[in-house]
C-alpha cells in the first residue's frame, strides 16, 4: 500500500466487467477507486468512464454485483463483511439498475381491480369487482369488456397468449363459476367491444378464488373456497359433446346467445381450506397455495399431491419461477415474502425471506426471463421489486392509494398493478436483462 493512499484515503483496485452490449462497455483495465465509495459513487465512476469513451453518453443508474451479491453498503464495508481480500483486484460486474423510469396514467375501472394478467405483450387483461373483465391495449385504452359473471371476478388468466387470430382467456368469479372467452386482439374499434363467454364452467360449490392455465392452453385449473382444485378443458368441441348439446338447448331458452357449459375433468382434493392460488408451470405439475398454511405440488395424471410445504401462515399468492423454474415464491397473511427451493432435500425452511412490506402480501410474480427478479404486491399499497442477490427491495412502486390486490410483469419491462383504488397502474422502463 503506497504512502499517500494511506494518508488521504484507502483505495482498492477494481475492474469493471459487464454482460451489457458494447455502448455500455467500459475498458477492461483495473483502476483504483476510493474504498468508501457507495453504489451511487460506483455508478458515477462507470458513467464517467463511459462518457470518456463516448461523448454522447447519457448517464444512467447502474447496480453492482460482487461475488453474486448486490452492493448495498459502502464498498469497504461490503468487502469486509464478505471477507474479500482487499489486496486482490476486485471484479465488479455492473448491470442496469432495476427501477421504473416512467409511470403511465392510471387506467380507471368502475370498481376494485382484483386480478391482472400481463403474460401477453399485446394487451393487459384485468378482472374487476364489478363482474366485468377488461382488455387494455395500453394505459387507458380499453378494447374489450367481458360481460357475463354475476359477481366480482377474483382471478384471471390468459390461456393461449400466442393464439394467431383470437386469444382465449379464463376468468374465475365469486359466483362459483369460471368462464372462458375468446376475442380478436387485432380489432380496431372506437368503443370497447362487449364479449360474452363461449363456455361457462360450473362445478365449484363456493367462490372460485384462483385460476391458472396449462402452458399448452388445453386445460385450466381453478382453486376455490370449497377446498378443491378442479381441472377443466378449454377447447370448444370435445368428447363431452353429449352433455354440451343438452346444456346448449337449456341455455338457449333463456339467453339468446349460445353458451356451452363444461364440467370439471377431475378434482384434486387434499387442501382443508380455501385454495387461494394455483400455478401450472409444467405439463403435469400444479402448484397450489391455500389458507390451510400449505403449499402443495400435484401430479395431474394421478391426482395425488407429491409434496407438501408447511408454511405456518395463510397463503394468498404463489408463483413458481427463478432458477431452474423451480423456486416457489409465496406470500400471505403476514408481511414476509418467502421463497422455497423444493429441490433441497430434508428441509422445508424457506431459503429467502423478504420482509419490507407492512401488511398482507396479495401477489408475487417472478420475472419471465430473469433468474433473480420478482415482484410482490401488498395491502400496504406498495409494489416492491426484489432481487435474490440482496435482502433490500430494488424499487418500491408507491402509486396506489390503498391496498394493491394484484400485480404482474408486462412485456418484460413493465409492472402492472391493480388495487382497491380502482386503478390499473403501469410502471414501465424497468431494464431487467
Amino acid at each position: 500500500m503506497d504512502m499517500d493512499g494511506d494518508v488521504e484515503e484507502r483505495r482498492v483496485q477494481a475492474r469493471f466487467i459487464t454482460k451489457l452490449k458494447p455502448p455500455c462497455k467500459v475498458p477492461h483495465t483495473s483502476i483504483a477507486i476510493p474504498a468508501n465509495v457507495t453504489r451511487f459513487g460506483l455508478s458515477t465512476i462507470v458513467n464517467s468512464l463511459l462518457k470518456a469513451g463516448n461523448d454522447e453518453w447519457e448517464s444512467q443508474p447502474f447496480d453492482f454485483v460482487i461475488d453474486g451479491e448486490l452492493v448495498r453498503l459502502p464498498l469497504e464495508q461490503f468487502v469486509l463483511a464478505k471477507g474479500i481480500s482487499a489486496e486482490k483486484v476486485l471484479e465488479i460486474e455492473y448491470i442496469r439498475a432495476v427501477a421504473p423510469q416512467k409511470e403511465d396514467e392510471p387506467s380507471l375501472h368502475d370498481d376494485w381491480v382484483s386480478a391482472v394478467d400481463g403474460s401477453c405483450p399485446r394487451f393487459i387483461f384485468t378482472g374487476c369487482y364489478d363482474s366485468f373483465g377488461r382488455v387494455w391495449k395500453a394505459a387507458g385504452e380499453c378494447t374489450h369488456i367481458l360481460e357475463g359473471h354475476t359477481d366480482g371476478i377474483t382471478s384471471v388468466t390468459i390461456v393461449n397468449p400466442e393464439g394467431a387470430d383470437s386469444v382465449t382467456v379464463a376468468t374465475a368469479s365469486k359466483d362459483q363459476s369460471l368462464r372462458l372467452w375468446k376475442f380478436d386482439t387485432e380489432e380496431h374499434l372506437d368503443q370497447p367491444a362487449k364479449i360474452r363467454a363461449y363456455k361457462v364452467l360450473r362445478g365449484h360449490n363456493a367462490s372460485v378464488q384462483s385460476v391458472a392455465a396449462q402452458a399448452s392452453g388445453n386445460m385450466i385449473c381453478s382453486g376455490s373456497w370449497d377446498c378443491t382444485i378442479n381441472l377443466w378443458r378449454t377447447n370448444l368441441s370435445d368428447t363431452e359433446g353429449d352433455l354440451v348439446s343438452i346444456k346448449k338447448r337449456k341455455v338457449k331458452n333463456n339467453v339468446e346467445e349460445s353458451q356451452m357449459e363444461g364440467e370439471a375433468l377431475s378434482t384434486l382434493v387434499g387442501h382443508t381450506q380455501c385454495v387461494s392460488a394455483v400455478h401450472w408451470p409444467e405439463h403435469s405439475t400444479i402448484y397450489s397455495a391455500s389458507w390451510d398454511h400449505s403449499v402443495r405440488r400435484w401430479d395431474v395424471e394421478t391426482g395425488k399431491d407429491l409434496s407438501n410445504i408447511f408454511c405456518g401462515k395463510a397463503l394468498n399468492c404463489l408463483h413458481v419461477g427463478g432458477e431452474g423454474s423451480s423456486l416457489i415464491a409465496a406470500g400471505g397473511s403476514d408481511p414476509i415474502l418467502r421463497i422455497w427451493d423444493p429441490r433441497k432435500p430434508g428441509t422445508s425452511a424457506p431459503i429467502y425471506q423478504f420482509s419490507s412490506h407492512n401488511s398482507w402480501i396479495s401477489a408475487c410474480k417472478w420475472h419471465a426471463k430473469s433468474l433473480f427478479h420478482l415482484l410482490s404486491a401488498s395491502y400496504d399499497g406498495k409494489v416492491m421489486l426484489w432481487d435474490l442477490r440482496t435482502a433490500w427491495p430494488l424499487a418500491i412502486i408507491d402509486s396506489h392509494e390503498d391496498k394493491v390486490l394484484c400485480a404482474d410483469w408486462w412485456k418484460g419491462d413493465s409492472v402492472i398493478s391493480g388495487g382497491v383504488d380502482s386503478k390499473l397502474c403501469i410502471s414501465s422502463g424497468i431494464s431487467v436483462q
Binding site: 376494485w112 363456493a206 373456497w225 389458507w291 397473511s333 403476514d334 398482507w360 391496498k403
Partner: protein, 538 residues
C-alpha cells in the same frame, strides 16, 4: 547434768559442730530419711478401680468422644445481636443507634450541601414532620458556631425514641418471587395465536356492537349503532352488502350451517332473519323457501300477540321479521341451524324464547329464572342449554326438561358467556373486569378467575379448533389466552395469557365491544366503539 556439770571429764561440751547440709548450693534442708515401703507397693484399691474401668472400656460402657473441634476462625468483634440470638432465653435487643453525622452537619460543608433560598422557602410549605430537622450552614471558623438551640430537645427525643422503640425482632423470610410464579409454558411454544393487526374494516359510522363470522370464514357480518348491518369479505375488507334498519343493531349471528347463509339480527324489539344472498342458485332457492312465512299465519297473529311474539314476512329486507314484546338483546343459533334462542332481559317469565325456523314456531323457556337473564347459549354437541343471569349460570337439559347444574360465578354482573367446543368448560366475562373459567366436571365454583381488565369485559370467545380464548373490554384492549383442555379428566385445564391486543380507540367510554375468532384460522376479529373492525393475525 541438771546443775550443769559434766559427767565425765573427757566430755567436751564445746566440741566443734559438723553440719551435714551443704550451704553453698542448696536452699532448703533435705531429709536423709529413707523412702517408706508403702511407696513401693502398688495400691490394691486403685488396682480394683483400674480393673473396673478397663472392663467397662472393653465392654463398651465408656465411650471416648472425639475431641471437640474448636472453630478456627471466629468473629473478633462479633455482633451482640447475632450471638444472643442463639440463646433460647429472653435476649437483649440493642437500642437503635442514632444516625452518625454526615458532611452536611459539618461547620463548613461543601456548597452542594447548602440549600438555596428557594429550597429553604419550600421547606416552610412542607408538613412539619417532613421538614428537615437540620439545615446546613457555613461558618468561617469553628469558634463562630453558635450554640445548638435544639440540643436539649434532641436529647429528649432520643430518650423518647429509646423508651418507646418497639423492641421486637423482625423475622424476615427471603423468598425468590420468581419461585412463587406458576410454571407456565413459553408463549413461543403456544403459537399460533393472534398478535398483529393487518386489516381494518372501515365503513360503519357508529360503534360496532356485534360481529359474527360465517362458517367457512370467508365472510363476516357486523351490526352497528348507526342502524346498519354490513357484510364483509374477510380477505379484502370489502363491504359486500348493507342493510339499513334505522335503529341500533344489537346483535348479529350467522347460521352455523354453511349451506344456509342466513343472518339473524336483533334490532330493538325485532329479530330479523336475513338472506345474505351468498351461495349458488340452489342454496338461494332453499333459503328463500325457508325465509317465507305463509299468509295463513296472519289471522293467528292476534292470538300470538297475547303470547308476545309474531312471525311476519318483511319485504323491505327480504326476510322474516320476528316481533317481540320487549327489546331483544341477543340471539344465538343451535348447532343444527334450525333452532335459535333470543333473550329479552325485561321479559320476566318469557325472557328467553326458543324459536324454530323451519316450522316458524316459538316456545317459552319453561324454567323460572332468578334474576335478569344476560345470555342464553346452546351446548355445542349435546341438548343442553346454558342460561346466564347477572349472578350465575344455569345449565338445563332440554330433553329431560330439568335443571342440571347451577354455576356460581361470584361476580357482580355477568356480561357474556362462551362454551368450549368440547362443551365441558365455559368462560364467563363480567362487568367488573373478571373472567371466570368453569370446569363443569370439577365444581360449580370457578376453576380460575382471571382479573386482568381494569374495565368491563364486553365479550368472551372460544376458538372453534385452536386452544385459544379471548376477552374484550371497555379499556380498548382484547386479551388472548391459551386454554388447553385435556381429555384426561385428572388434569386441570392449562391457561396461559398470551397477548394484549391494542389498537382500538375509546369512544364515549366504550372500548372493544365484541370479539370473535375466525372459524378456521388463529385470527381474532374485534369490533370497537370507534366504528372499526380489526383483524388480528398470527
Amino acid at each position: 547434768m541438771l546443775k550443769g556439770k559434766t559427767p565425765h571429764a573427757d566430755f567436751d561440751p564445746y566440741a566443734p559442730y559438723v553440719d551435714w547440709f551443704k550451704w553453698e548450693d542448696a536452699k532448703h534442708p533435705l531429709s536423709n530419711a529413707p523412702e517408706p515401703k508403702s511407696r513401693f507397693i502398688p495400691s490394691k484399691s486403685e488396682a480394683k478401680k483400674v480393673l473396673g474401668l478397663v472392663r467397662a472400656i472393653r465392654k463398651g460402657f465408656i465411650k471416648f468422644d472425639k475431641p471437640k473441634e474448636e472453630p478456627r476462625f471466629y468473629m473478633l468483634w462479633g455482633d451482640d445481636a447475632s450471638s444472643s440470638e442463639k440463646t433460647g432465653h429472653l435476649s437483649y435487643i440493642p437500642a437503635p443507634k442514632p444516625n452518625m453525622p454526615g458532611h452536611e452537619e459539618s461547620y463548613n460543608p461543601s456548597l452542594e450541601y447548602i440549600p438555596t433560598q428557594e429550597e429553604i422557602n419550600s421547606y416552610q410549605l412542607m408538613d412539619e414532620e417532613d421538614r428537615p430537622k437540620f439545615i446546613p450552614k457555613r461558618f468561617t471558623s469553628l469558634r463562630s458556631i453558635p450554640a445548638y438551640e435544639n440540643a436539649v430537645k434532641d436529647s429528649f427525643e432520643r430518650c423518647l425514641d429509646l423508651y418507646l422503640c418497639p423492641r421486637v425482632r423482625k423475622k424476615r423470610i427471603n423468598i425468590d418471587p420468581e419461585s412463587l410464579k406458576p410454571k407456565l409454558p413459553s408463549r413461543k411454544d403456544l403459537r399460533p395465536y393472534p398478535a398483529t393487526c393487518y386489516l381494518e374494516y372501515r365503513g360503519h359510522k357508529g360503534a360496532v356492537m356485534s360481529i359474527s363470522t360465517e362458517a367457512s370464514g370467508q365472510w363476516i357480518a357486523s351490526g352497528s349503532s348507526d342502524g346498519t348491518v354490513r357484510l364483509w369479505e374477510v380477505e379484502t375488507c370489502r363491504c359486500i352488502k348493507v342493510w339499513e334498519f334505522g335503529e341500533v343493531v344489537q346483535y348479529v349471528a350467522w347460521n352455523p350451517l354453511p349451506e344456509l347463509p342466513i343472518l339473524a339480527v336483533t334490532v330493538g324489539q325485532d329479530v330479523f332473519l336475513l338472506n345474505s344472498g351468498l351461495g349458488n342458485e340452489e342454496i338461494q332457492r332453499k333459503v328463500k323457501e325457508l325465509l317465507h312465512v305463509e299468509t295463513p299465519t296472519a289471522p293467528e297473529d292476534s292470538g300470538n300477540k297475547v303470547s308476545g311474539w309474531s312471525w311476519r314476512q318483511d319485504d323491505e329486507h327480504e326476510g322474516i321479521r320476528l316481533r317481540h314484546f320487549k327489546s331483544v338483546y341477543s340471539v344465538e343459533w343451535h348447532r343444527k341451524g334450525d333452532y335459535f334462542s333470543t333473550v329479552m332481559p325485561a321479559g320476566d317469565s318469557k325472557a328467553i324464547l326458543i324459536h324454530q325456523l323451519s316450522k316458524k314456531f316459538t316456545q317459552r323457556h319453561p324454567f323460572k329464572l332468578h334474576g335478569l337473564p344476560v345470555s342464553a347459549v346452546f351446548h355445542p354437541t349435546r341438548s343442553i342449554f346454558f342460561v346466564s343471569t347477572k349472578k350465575n349460570v344455569r345449565v338445563y337439559d332440554l330433553l329431560k326438561q330439568k335443571l342440571i347444574k347451577k354455576l356460581e360465578t361470584g361476580l357482580r354482573e355477568v356480561s357474556s358467556i362462551s362454551i368450549h367446543p368440547a362443551g365441558d368448560n365455559i368462560i364467563v366475562g363480567s362487568r367488573d373486569g373478571k373472567l371466570c373459567w368453569f370446569d363443569m366436571d370439577l365444581s360449580s365454583k370457578p376453576y380460575k378467575v382471571l382479573k386482568c381488565h381494569p374495565k368491563d369485559i364486553n365479550n368472551v370467545a372460544f376458538h372453534r379448533s385452536y386452544p385459544l380464548f379471548a376477552s374484550c373490554s371497555d379499556d380498548c384492549t382484547a386479551y388472548v389466552f391459551h386454554g388447553t383442555v385435556y381429555s384426561d379428566l385428572n388434569q386441570n385445564p392449562l391457561i396461559v395469557p398470551l397477548e394484549i391486543l391494542r389498537g382500538h380507540a375509546s369512544s364515549d367510554g366504550r372500548g372493544v365491544l365484541d370479539c370473535k375468532f375466525h372459524p378456521r384460522q388463529p385470527w381474532l376479529f374485534t369490533a370497537g366503539a370507534d366504528s372499526l373492525i380489526k383483524l388480528y393475525c398470527h
